[in-house]
Symmetry: C2
Subunit: 155 residues, 2 copies
């Protein structure tokens, strides 16, 4: 059926981030929506952020557009310009190549829920992180001096 039964789609909190950068995303529980539905043109994730969880390290993509649609709860969007509250119905867009690192943090005591849309692997040429010594490429995570981290990235 076109309406998704989320209870039948695997939910995971796995991450490829090396320690200690993995710690803030332990409470990020996500479902990849394209693989079980056959979507090819773009990628999508349904994400539940537990209280205190981060959506990611503060990052940008060099080759992939992103859109986020809040559907429940509240989170704080953090980027270079500061903090913006995001609530159900709010939409944010990050065009590829704009090096304005962004992430959401759930500072409330309740879960918040959003859908994140991206161009997907065909557009993945990597990107950067604003606050930590890390960048990403299709091959994985690296320090800014070019040495690799010993984890596998989950694109």
């Amino acid at each position: 059926m076109p309406k998704l039964d989320l209870s039948h789609i695997e939910q995971t909190n796995r991450t490829g981030y090396p320690a200690p950068f993995d710690e803030p995303v332990q409470g990020r529980w996500y479902r990849r929506l394209a693989p079980p539905t056959g979507l090819q043109d773009f990628a999508a994730s349904h994400v539940v952020l537990k209280p205190a969880a981060w959506s990611s390290q503060r990052h940008w993509h060099d080759g992939e557009d992103e859109m986020l649609i809040m559907i429940a709860g509240e989170a704080v969007l953090i980027e270079d310009e500061g903090r913006t509250i995001m609530r159900a119905g709010d939409i944010a867009v990050w065009p590829k190549g704009v090096k304005n690192g962004h992430h959401l943090i759930n500072e409330t005591q309740e879960d918040c829920v959003f859908v994140a849309i991206g161009g997907g692997k065909k557009h993945d040429i990597g990107g950067g992180y604003s606050d930590i010594d890390m960048l990403f490429t299709p091959d994985g995570y690296f320090r800014k001096n070019g040495t690799g981290y010993d984890t596998d990235r989950i694109p």
Copy 2:
């Protein structure tokens, strides 16, 4: 700012549907989100359906994946298999080429709101309608005998 200020994005109810197929979508008020934000990888629309409005004629796309995310109110999704209620947080997906015509109808007395994501013009090879003598191609609207309708399609 990445968070969209919808009040600054044009909202329209225009349609290229020929009469009388345009009538049920008069209460569909939408904002195209890609042009004002610079998104290129996919297309997105923020849509408000007034009471009794239809999201479209019941249709499918041959070349373009679609996803719909309900963010407020309630609508009925209608497709070959029947009726499904869609409420805030519900998500539906239509992979390209599946000839299962679908649309949403707002049968309530309140507005409903959703975001529709599509692969965009680069994937637009046309598609069909389940209930009326019409099909669409990148060149416009046609009867099933191949004769054209005298309106301009808005892709």
